[in-house]
Symmetry: D2
């Protein structure tokens, strides 16, 4: 199609703090960025509730999506004219990179868990449904929208293309590690991406890394490890996440109980019913959610009101290390104590567990399975799996680490009368 190769008369650039500039030369890319579905990503934070821990982390998914696009653009610039690479798939890669997170909603983590949604489904629906995005993709060519959906869905035939945005060293991860480090201000998250891009080589079914780039990749894996535990799983962020989930649970519960909301949850009805259609989904961004949470500060239901107040004004739960599997007795006792003092433990005594697998050589059959990283050996075009070559990566590969924390409203507990026996006992269990 003529549209496919249509170029802007002059290259456009976006100033980007992470990659300096994001370059757009293809008309299709420019048009996709201009759609309402893509612009909506401006109203969804990349890191959900992390801004309550790291005040700099207020950047949106719009930000990140441009970044992933730019990285893929740079990779493909290096791939041009290399063996194993067919430049006809360039635009497909760029579109998939740009659009891969399109289906994310506000605070996806909590919303998906509470309302049993999957943002990848919605990405597919946006790409294939009756949307501005789809119109543009269809102009590129028959089947192109489907191809884009397949790449994002990891079902596209050419796995090399898929691996650019979904592997253990893909453009998605390379962007978010750097971007999230930049906006939070932490000193982790830096690695020599320019070098990694230079040592990437297309192979039949995956992108591989020249052996000489191994240390840059090690550094990247370590960045990832640090970012997970220092930023993504920060216990304060999880506290906000816990409260957010409980708000959603409570609102749904109240709705099911026919509670009379002062501010009716119009935007949420299909979420409560678990039959959200695309248009309803797209309407729910973070400004809408925050509107409701603020409106609910006026509700009669004390649990909903209190939880919203906690979220909006950042009066979060405190936490202790707590593994419910090993501390079942304490857990049950606490539960009962909370009931005894009229604090509903369903909402106010919450265990949250986070776990991460920093790098994995091979996890067949598991969900979210991602390809291992292969190193291309100097002489014989032989591939070796990263953890076989790197002591550091070997040390952490395949080792899932889990962290359990117990969240509770310490402020409320402290206000209990000093002579209440439950108070003393609760504090004893919590703080030893």
């Amino acid at each position: 199609m003529a549209y496919k190769d249509e170029q802007l008369s002059e290259e456009k650039v976006f100033k980007d703090p992470v990659h300096r500039y994001i370059h757009v030369k293809d008309q299709v890319i420019w048009d996709l960025i201009g759609t309402r579905e893509f612009q909506r990503l401006r109203r969804i934070k990349q890191l959900g509730t992390s801004f309550l821990t790291f005040h700099g982390a207020e950047h949106s998914r719009f930000n990140h999506s441009l970044g992933v696009y730019e990285i893929v653009r740079r990779i493909l610039f290096n791939f041009e004219n290399r063996p194993n690479w067919n430049n006809d798939e360039r635009l497909l890669c760029l579109c998939a990179a740009l659009l891969h997170d399109l289906g994310h909603g506000p605070f996806s983590h909590s919303f998906e868990k509470v309302f049993k949604l999957d943002h990848e489904d919605f990405t597919k629906k946006i790409v294939l449904g009756d949307t501005e995005i789809n119109k543009i993709l269809r102009r590129v060519g028959k089947g192109f929208a489907q191809d884009v959906a397949d790449v994002i869905n990891k079902t596209y035939e050419n796995k090399l293309v898929v691996s650019l945005i979904s592997s253990q060293i893909d453009a998605d991860r390379m962007d978010y590690l750097q971007r999230d480090a930049y906006f939070t201000g932490v000193s982790y998250g830096h690695f020599d991406m320019e070098r990694i891009l230079r040592v990437m080589r297309p192979m039949e079914d995956q992108v591989v890394i020249k052996q000489t780039g191994m240390h840059a990749v090690e550094d990247y894996i370590m960045s990832r490890y640090q970012m997970y535990w220092q930023v993504y799983f920060h216990p304060v962020t999880r506290s906000a996440e816990v409260i957010l989930s409980k708000i959603l649970h409570r609102a749904k519960y109240l709705y099911e109980q026919n509670y009379r909301f002062k501010q009716k949850p119009t935007h949420f009805l299909s979420f409560f019913a678990e039959n959200v259609d695309l248009e309803e989904y797209l309407r729910l961004d973070e400004s809408i959610v925050l509107y409701y949470f603020q409106a609910w500060l006026e509700e009669d239901d004390t649990v909903l009101r209190d939880l919203c107040e906690r979220f909006i004004n950042r009066r979060l739960f405190k936490y202790i290390e707590f593994n419910p599997n090993q501390q079942m007795t304490e857990w049950m006792e606490l539960y009962k104590l909370f009931q005894a003092i009229d604090i509903d433990p369903e909402y106010y005594l919450v265990v949250d567990s986070s776990s991460d697998l920093p790098y994995d050589f091979y996890r067949p059959g598991e969900e979210e399975e991602r390809l291992p990283i292969h190193l291309l050996q100097p002489k014989k075009d032989e591939l070796k799996e990263l953890s076989r070559q790197s002591d550091i990566v070997e040390a952490i590969s395949g080792k899932k680490r889990t962290d359990h924390k117990l969240y509770f409203p310490q402020d409320v507990l402290e206000q209990l009368p000093a002579d209440r026996p439950e108070k003393a006992r609760i504090f004893e269990i919590l703080f030893g």
Copy 2:
């Protein structure tokens, strides 16, 4: 009051991308940050509509307020034990620094102009009114809240204290230049703040700069100049600002015409009536505004609907250089041509003018008058005004530069039938 000097048992830090860490040791500061009025600043972007030009500029006023506090903290750390400095005013300075922007609302620039508000009034009301902030300040001591209000209002007796947050080289400007540069990603906005802090000296009624620091100050003035024209007055940002103002005008107009809104502008009513009380003011943050703008995408009024659609989906007006004072004839002809093709020029043909005074030696009696910068001479404790010493600063000092642009919906004009005579004429006037 004991509270005044109450220290946290352990210093708390916030990770900050600009200043690395923000340090809090005073209980008062910690408590102020925790108030709902201060947390509300998280829901107000520091740079209003700039994120539509620079996608990184999504940071909030919360961010900036902490930054100003931190800079003042560092200045005062250097002032301790210096002549002319009374450390009893330390906490006052810190509180004023932290709270100086508390009265900002969403997209202040447009809201203030359209609804004739002044964020400084609201800052004062929050500090002195029935608020969580006020409760905490009153615990410090009698008159303390008033002192904080006075410092922010520049009426406090000790002008040295005032100059820390309101002069031509104050903590406010030093933070926002660096912070806005960081988040937009532009390469301007950098200067050697560490050096400036080291050469600041308290004098009787102002902070002055040792002569040896002159070049660092020059660099700061140039940063400011560049940031104004490259970022703050970016024509695309102003396009979004124009549309935003017109939405507010239209909504007010419709309300006055008794238009029946599908989504009633409940939160806006006192704004339309120009009698906003504090509680109503505090309720209106950016999430609320964006909620309404999205709801109004369903309104019958085509102007309101179209403008909201433009703002939400970033379909901005295009612009040309246009000085209405010098191009009165074209202006009037365009106005009539727009009327002829049924595009209301009140909303769709808008001149916006920006002007900045990069540095001023002295502007008595003008609004926004700020103290000039004085350099402390090596031997005789003599002061010299900066522009007398610096060629560069002299070159730009006192010179107001104004930029006029005309904004219009080019997309609509292009869709006019080719044979309409107005179309040809409009394009001729606009693009020559």
Copy 3:
């Protein structure tokens, strides 16, 4: 010649702190870097005596030469396929960029003044003489070495090519500002080079800048201004420079007086005689100079010994502001007072004047005349000279600023007996 386009089998890179990576793909460039004449630049500091002021400034001219090459490489990458650009001149530009500083000797500034040398002559001699460099250039093609010499000498016919490395915004300046800022650690010297490179356009006889890049260029001009006064003309650096010149003067004088050196100045003989041939010139790098200065610590001549000791152990002269044109009387009195106390004023009472022209619109007929910067206007391919468009640049353009300082050994003066009348008078004149 086939050699001209000969490419390395795989691109080589140098890790560079300023440009991240320096990329070499041409065999010629790779071979030139490997010559002894080019490797010699490792033994010559880019900033001469500045390391005695800024301890980080220990980087060599080797460093900078690679940087200039890399910038030109990036400019030409953008020029490919543009009108007005003939890619056949690519290799010529790259070679000229790489080799433009080849003729620099140790501490060029002082050596050139004292011994009446010109490093540009030596660059030409290296390029055209019997050298490894010349052999490689001749392999490219007949006349190629001469072309390279002409470009460096600014006499090459195509002025567009010349302007890449010798104009007021050339690759030379863009590299050294950033590099010297990086290694000294000062916060000046930063500007958005990536943007400048993107807005550069080849015209018939010069590189011009698109109007939209004006602010980036302003920022660059300001960086240059700041670097000159904050780094290059730093008074402490000039103190070391003064001592260095006086060492050279003294050694020459002693030689002419048939003084019997313990360490004979073999390497310096042709310098003293002012008839240095190429081979002798190339042998004199900074390690050789420092060898002699250290050997001369053992000389009988007290002036030579003392000056060497000052240079080697950084016991520099102090300075005051002093304009000999306006302070002729004091100057003559000081001169006589120094003689009276047996401190030879020829060596120990030295005026040094530095002056800089930050940007010049046009200085016909002057030495070191460089082309002004032209801005390419959006519509009509019209050019406008920068200072006509930019208030800031206009303010400083064509304005030469000169700074005069008087250097003297304060330590010696302080050790004079307190009752010597000359002492009191000298201190009175110097410190008022």
Copy 4:
């Protein structure tokens, strides 16, 4: 002593690219920096031959010494008023930090091995001998110079003081990792030092790290690991090191054979005889060494001349992976083949082995034994050793990794006649 606490009338600062500013307030420190022994460190590169691999790595030990001083200054600023810390030892720590590398000579690594020297011995001699340094230290107080020597020598009684500059997370390492990363330009070497400094706590006999800082320490350990393999043990740097060692060996051998040098090795005589006194040691800096190497380009001995030419003009040896322990047969065959073609294998066939222990929990009785890092647990003031707490550190702790390479002059081998049977066989062994 009065001198001990003598303060400069005004704080002096050095602009430093790594720590931004280095602050000096103590007269003693200022005076020590001014001595000839300390200034000599400007003529000794921090990374020896690494500049031949990373052209930015031209920084001196002067640079690093100031950096270590500054870090200790910042640590002690945080220690003031903490339990376990006696501020009377502040100046001792600062002096030891500043002077700890004073005894380094040019290219220490090779010189120490070839001539059986130990830079720590010379540090002690400079501190305790008849030097400018010693004079200043003695002015502080009786026994002070000895204390400084003891701290550097790790024999000082208070092990807490020793651990500041000699442990596995001391100021020495924290400076060089960051500094060497900065000057080489590699992206490793970054970690959050500010955070580490904030979580350091003085204990009875060591500095420990609060548990909350564990991840910052992990990051530091990883930086160190990467810097060792990516920078310090870079095979090209080791090639230069090999050649340098062989030059020294050859010169010594020739001297012992009564070879008649054109340029007599006056400065080297006591090194050859292995009885170097302090004054001779101090005279030998890198400018002297490079003077000789250049002079030796004129020698008759072809081996010495060739090796010097290789070092000066960077014509280094190539290398392959080669473990002589496992490849004894090839090694012996190569040795004989080299002899057969008249290339002396003693100088031209060299195995170099590097090994590093990234972190060690405990190595009693080994040389260079350094204290493990202890983490201070939140509640009970209990200490836990780092590798027990950190998976990553555990993975690499105590594991010595060794890398063997074989160096040889590939250029010479390639010039052998094609029909020489040794040539084919040598290439077969080397490149398989």
